[in-house]
């Protein structure tokens, strides 16, 4: 009967927004702990923020360094490529010059060969013409020889 009365009394107090003395102490303690926890958490958050800022700064510093290094490399390579390109262009120009000179020489040689070929043909033709003339002379000599022998051996000829 007493327990029932106590529970009923607590219920009425709670309805009125009041707690019994023991319970209020508990709640007060929990509140204090919570506030303490909030303070701790705030500190932790501050710390994390500070660390984060630190990392961010570090990261930024690192990235700038890398960028600077890369830029330096780029410039170095660009200069090298430009140098190589210049050297290549120089070589190409030299080769083109040599090629043109060679082409000119080949053209000259070709002309010389053509001239020599024409000369050989002309020489060959003249040689053939001379051979024909020699054939004619040989034929004529044979004919004259035959005629002369005929005259010498004829009855009225002088056959001494």
């Amino acid at each position: 009967m007493t327990d029932t009365m106590a529970r009923l009394g607590s219920r009425v107090l709670r309805r009125l927004g009041l707690e019994r003395g023991g319970r209020a102490a508990d709640l007060h303690e929990a509140l204090r702990k919570s506030e303490q926890r909030i303070v701790e958490l705030k500190k932790l958050l501050e710390k994390s923020r500070a660390e984060s800022e630190q990392w961010r700064a570090k990261l930024l510093a690192s990235s700038a360094h890398e960028q600077a290094a890369r830029k330096s490399d780029d410039e170095k390579y660009r200069a090298r490529v430009e140098k190589l390109e210049a050297r290549l262009a120089e070589q190409v120009a030299k080769l083109q010059e040599r090629d043109a000179a060679r082409a000119e020489k080949v053209g000259e040689l070709r002309d010389k060969v053509a001239t020599a070929d024409r000369s050989v043909r002309a020489g060959r033709d003249h040689l053939m013409s001379i051979e024909v003339k020699l054939d004619l002379i040989e034929g004529a000599i044979n004919v004259l020889d035959r005629r002369f022998r005929g005259l010498r051996s004829s009855p009225g000829g002088d056959s001494r």
């Binding site: 013409s129 004619l136 034929g139």
Partner: protein, 331 residues
């Protein structure tokens, strides 16, 4: 000396050939008369205004003239047949090679010089004109300033010659050897069997070579080289002529003289006929030879030194400007 073609009844065509009654090739007389009968009949059938000029070169004494035999063999022929009997002393005086006993192309020049036709065909006495050639003549399809060539088809040695007609001539089974086409620019090959041009072109070129009298082989091709060098067009008439192979022909006997070319009866075939040409003298074709009528349509050309060119005239040997583009044999 050359009688010009004109509209005064001159024939459209003169066919010039040469021969003599010496049984050349075994039965020359028969081959000559058979061919003459065939060609005469074919030309008459197509009403081609043609004349035959036959040159009997150094005809042997004591044997009938082939021209007399020809007149008997083709009696009443509507085509004119004229012949010139050339004194054997011309052969003796002209030759520069005693092995060449027949200066065939100077004989042909004698005929060319005396031809009356607007066009002149020089051929051999045993050549049958092909159908296409006859048709071209009938159509009067020839142009001036052009040398026409025809491919020669050799008929087999020993073929039955008693009844030669189109069926036999145009039957490829009767052909001896492959059919080689004529090749530009010279269209040489068997040239002596068919060289056709207008009279003015022959006169301009002064006929076949009379300067190089050391060989008769290659003289026909040499004429083509000269023609080409002179800017005369050479074309294939597009139809063949037919020749019956016989003993003694260049084709049949060249193997016999391989390695002994200088002893060949046609002369040394190695002479440069494709490069070295000629300029015949004004009196080419025995133009200055006296002519004595022997009988109707036949004249004798007695010997006279006036008609004979110098033994050697080296200035008349010239070089062709055209390349030796055709190395084919020409006999």
């Amino acid at each position: 000396m050359m009688e010009p073609a004109s509209g005064d009844g001159s024939p459209y065509l003169t066919i010039v050939s040469t021969g003599r009654n010496d049984s050349y090739g075994g039965n020359f007389e028969e081959r000559f008369l058979r061919t003459l009968r065939f060609n005469t009949a074919q030309l008459a059938a197509r009403e081609v205004a043609a004349e035959f000029v036959f040159v009997e070169w150094a005809a042997p004494a004591g044997r009938p003239l082939l021209s007399d035999l020809a007149r008997e063999a083709v009696p009443g022929c509507s085509l004119t047949f004229r012949s010139y009997v050339v004194d054997a002393a011309y052969q003796e005086a002209l030759t520069l090679n005693r092995r060449v006993a027949y200066l065939e192309f100077i004989a042909k020049n004698v005929g060319i010089r005396r031809a009356r036709g607007e066009f002149i065909l020089t051929t051999n006495a045993d050549v049958f004109l092909g159908r296409g050639v006859l048709d071209a003549l009938a159509r009067r399809a020839l142009g001036r300033g052009t040398v026409y060539r025809a491919r020669r088809i050799d008929l087999k040695l020993g073929i039955d010659q008693t009844s030669l007609d189109w069926d036999v001539l145009e039957d490829a089974r009767n052909y001896d050897g492959g059919l080689k086409p004529l090749k530009p620019p010279l269209y040489a090959g068997g040239t002596g069997d068919f060289v056709l041009a207008d009279a003015a072109t022959f006169a301009r070129l002064r006929g076949f070579n009379e300067v190089f009298r050391v060989a008769k082989i290659g003289i026909d091709k040499n004429f083509l080289v000269k023609a080409l060098d002179a800017g005369v067009a050479i074309v294939d008439i597009g139809s063949p002529v037919y020749h019956i192979n016989h003993v003694g022909s260049y084709r049949a006997s060249k193997a016999q003289y391989r390695g002994e070319a200088a002893d060949a009866p046609y002369g040394d075939d190695r002479w440069p006929a494709g490069s070295v040409i000629y300029e015949n003298p004004d009196n080419w074709g025995l133009a200055d030879a006296p002519m004595v009528p022997l009988r109707a349509g036949t004249w004798r050309l007695p010997f006279h030194w006036n008609a004979v060119p110098p033994l050697v005239d080296l200035d008349r040997v010239t070089l062709a400007g055209v390349a030796d583009a055709d190395e084919e044999e020409s006999a």
